[in-house]
């Protein structure tokens, strides 16, 4: 197969260097393969080609053929004679063709770029000090690297509306817009919500919503991400922090089983925004708006900042000791969560085996498929619970089985990890009958009724792995430290397991993975370090008999996966 592919490759010549590329590769991507860059604004690898910014102009030529005979024209030394086009061509709109030659750094190409930059800057306001894009602005970068460095424009700059509200989450500054139309194409092609367009002509051209519509779909903030300048800004992030202060941490969207790859931007222990990270197998370069607001739970008012035993605040060490004592009792059941990481689920499984659990439950969360990047299963890691052997069947939305076990007196103690039992269908009366150990991040009916409540961490404050709907295991990293008084969920569970078993137990992700991978399960050969940033596809064939609920989404076809498994 590799052989076949190789035959299909075509050879192009970039700046005198031969390069083999697959057919259909455009020249921006081809140049990128060489480690060089053709500057561009309107071109985006995941959108259609518009070719309207003209920034990627390069010089292009094809091997000449004699018109009379059709014979290739040769130079004196026998090499093919290149017929250079008189004008420059746009690299993004030029697909590789056999023998094609391009020059990205010839005098003509450089002059073209300088001229385009000059035209773009004519009406661009000198807003950089108050512009949120400064620091990650393509126009700023390319003006420095491909501009003339001085202005010849003495006339008055164009004035356009600022602070225009395009939708609930997006604010538009029309003056900064360079009319690249990326946002328009995104709305049409990816979000399938055609609301944006240009009105008027020439220097009056303005990006606007169609009458009576607004940019309100759940993918609207992706237009802010792809805007090469500061025209589209996030209303939430607007004027909050300059981007050069932000520390970027690779993370995963916890919203649903799609597992969008994200980047969490934080400064000094405070998260400022969440943006998508490119993963061509999962989310391309997009993510839903709803996932970007999850960081607000970190500083929510009802956040637990200390552990309690019988309602009295105490240190995490004391709380863990008390929890282990309770779990040594009779009739223990475990309620785990699809929001636990694979590592936590693995340790929970060890605890379940250790205490001979009367039952291990997960709480299912089902919503609506949006067909793009939010799946029906709103738990990010149900497959992790299956893969670690914590559960053997898909979870139910209500804990009615556990409820009847409590009523019959079979279950006397419950360990709830990151789940609110009341929200999952148990009554407070049932909780009062129990010895209850709860680990959670926020105050819930369960933590209020718990004998031991342990303050845990949100996904932004810990590291771990999740298994998404494709059975792709993906890792996320700690962006900020947790509040004082909280304890890492994995460390808490490990400590409980250690006191239950009387043996030491690893408490950090890397060392827990040595145990997980040694099991001979589908994780064999993996380590936390060894999981690529874009994830590793696991063999989920053992679970092909289960009726997973997810429908089709961006890079997920449920039927196809089913067939492949079978």
């Amino acid at each position: 197969m590799a052989e076949e592919k190789k035959d299909n490759l075509i050879t192009v010549n970039i700046d005198g260097q031969d390069l083999q590329v697959p057919p259909g590769t455009n020249m921006v991507e081809a140049v990128k393969m060489l480690g060089k860059e053709v500057p561009h604004y309107c071109y985006h690898p995941k959108l259609s080609i518009a070719g309207n910014c003209r920034m990627c102009l390069v010089e292009m030529g094809m091997p000449g053929k004699d018109r009379a005979t059709g014979e290739p024209m040769l130079n004196e030394d026998g090499t093919p004679k290149i017929m250079w086009m008189p004008g420059p061509a746009i690299a993004c709109g030029t697909n590789a063709a056999p023998g094609m030659h391009i020059k990205t750094n010839s005098q003509k190409a450089i002059e073209s770029r300088e001229s385009v930059t000059e035209f773009l800057l004519i009406n661009h306001p000198l807003d950089c000090p108050i512009c949120d894009q400064a620091g990650e602005c393509k126009l700023q970068e390319f003006s420095a690297s491909h501009g003339r460095g001085y202005s010849r424009f003495v006339e008055e700059k164009n004035v356009k509306p600022k602070r225009t509200r395009l939708g609930p989450r997006v604010t538009l500054d029309d003056e900064r817009c360079i009319l690249c139309s990326r946002c328009i194409r995104f709305s049409q092609e990816v979000a399938k919500d055609d609301v944006l367009g240009f009105t008027d002509r020439g220097s009056y051209s303005t990006l606007t919503c169609f009458p009576g519509k607004e940019l309100a779909n759940n993918y609207s903030l992706n237009t802010v991400d792809i805007c090469p300048v500061g025209a589209l800004t996030s209303t939430d992030f607007r004027f909050k922090m300059r981007v050069w202060f932000l520390k970027e941490t690779k993370s995963i969207d916890f919203e649903s089983s799609v597992g969008c790859n994200t980047v969490v931007s934080s400064r000094e222990g405070k998260v400022y925004r969440v943006t998508p990270r490119r993963n061509d197998e999962v989310n391309d370069t997009w993510m839903p708006d709803s996932g970007r607001e999850l960081y607000k739970q970190i500083e929510a008012e009802d956040r637990l900042s200390y552990s309690t035993v019988n309602g009295v605040g105490t240190s995490a060490v004391e709380a863990l000791k008390a929890a282990a004592e309770l779990l040594k009792g009779e009739g223990v059941a475990i309620v785990a969560s699809g929001r636990n990481t694979v590592e936590e689920q693995f340790v929970l499984k060890q605890i379940a085996d250790q205490v001979n659990a009367k039952g291990v439950y997960l709480v299912a969360r089902y919503g609506e498929d949006d067909g793009i990047l939010i799946s029906k299963d709103r738990n990010p890691n149900v497959r992790g619970a299956l893969a670690t052997g914590l559960i053997s069947d898909l979870p139910a939305e209500q804990l009615s089985v556990l409820g009847s076990q409590i009523d019959s007196g079979e279950v006397k103690t419950v360990l709830a990890a990151k789940e609110d039992l009341v929200a999952a269908g148990l009554s407070e009366e049932q909780l009062k009958k129990l010895k209850l150990v709860a680990i959670d991040t926020h105050a819930t009916a369960t933590t209020r009724n718990a004998d031991v409540a342990i303050a845990g961490l949100t996904q932004f404050e810990k590291s771990g792995t999740l298994i998404n709907q494709q059975f792709r295991i993906q890792k996320f990293h700690k962006a900020i430290p947790g509040p004082v008084g909280s304890i890492d969920d994995l460390a808490a569970l490990s400590a409980i397991q250690a006191s239950l078993s009387g043996e030491t137990y690893p408490s950090v992700v890397g060392t827990v993975w040595e145990k997980i991978a040694a099991e001979g399960s589908i994780f064999e050969g993996l380590s936390f370090k060894g999981i690529a940033d874009t994830g590793v596809l696991l063999d989920g064939s053992a679970f092909s008999g289960l009726a997973f609920v997810e429908g089709k989404s961006l890079h997920f076809e449920p039927q196809v996966v089913e067939v492949a498994k079978g």
Partner: protein
């Protein structure tokens, strides 16, 4: 091998010391009664500050009273001892300076950290932060040594502004910018009048 320095034995007069004491006191008395005073009775008297002196960093207003800082946070970024801490904020839309859009909500300079290097002044794109003549800072607590926004403006006062670049911008918007004519009337439909924000049905 040690070197032995031969010293001349002292003469009688030299042994007396008195002529030398008199000679020294002559200089002292000449300075005392006829010389120029070089010391100052600090803090009642203050030395003249030379031009270009780098004193305590301050924030300044323009002659109209507008705070010049737009909280771009470049000074915070460039500050070597990380003495500057800014919380950016938005200028409300009903303000006269709404077109400037951004101003600091909080602006703290920790004078226990500041090394008076002047890089904040150098980097400021709005000419809003200046190291001025004030050189003496003291306080009883660490908190007192942090200059907040109000203190910084009190220290800074008003500095002449030759540019008024934001006023020019507002003026340009009134005159239709590069199109050389005023904006169309407000009751024109949205597509031809970009100044009227679109009204969306709730």
């Amino acid at each position: 091998m040690a070197i032995v320095v031969k010293r001349k034995p002292l003469t009688f007069l030299e042994k007396l010391y008195i002529p030398e004491i008199v000679r020294g006191l002559t200089v002292t008395f000449r300075r005392m009664f006829f010389g120029e005073t070089v010391t100052l009775e600090y803090p009642e008297q203050r030395p003249p500050i030379p031009a270009g002196y780098r004193g305590v960093p301050t924030l300044v207003r323009d002659p109209e009273g507008r705070e010049k800082c737009v909280s771009c946070q470049l000074c915070e970024f460039v500050c070597p001892p990380k003495a500057i801490r800014i919380t950016p904020g938005e200028i409300p839309e009903d303000s006269d300076y709404a077109h400037v859009e951004k101003a600091p909500k909080e602006f703290d300079i920790d004078m226990l950290r500041c090394i008076y290097c002047g890089m904040c002044q150098e980097v400021c794109p709005e000419e809003a932060i200046w190291l001025q003549n004030q050189y003496s800072m003291s306080g009883y607590t660490r908190a007192e040594m942090v200059n907040n926004k109000a203190k910084l403006y009190e220290l800074g006062g008003t500095l002449p502004d030759d540019h008024f670049k934001w006023n020019k911008k507002k003026e340009a918007a009134k005159n239709g910018g590069g199109h050389g004519h005023a904006m169309p009337p407000a009751d024109m439909p949205r597509s031809e009048n970009p100044e009227v924000p679109p009204v969306f049905p709730k």
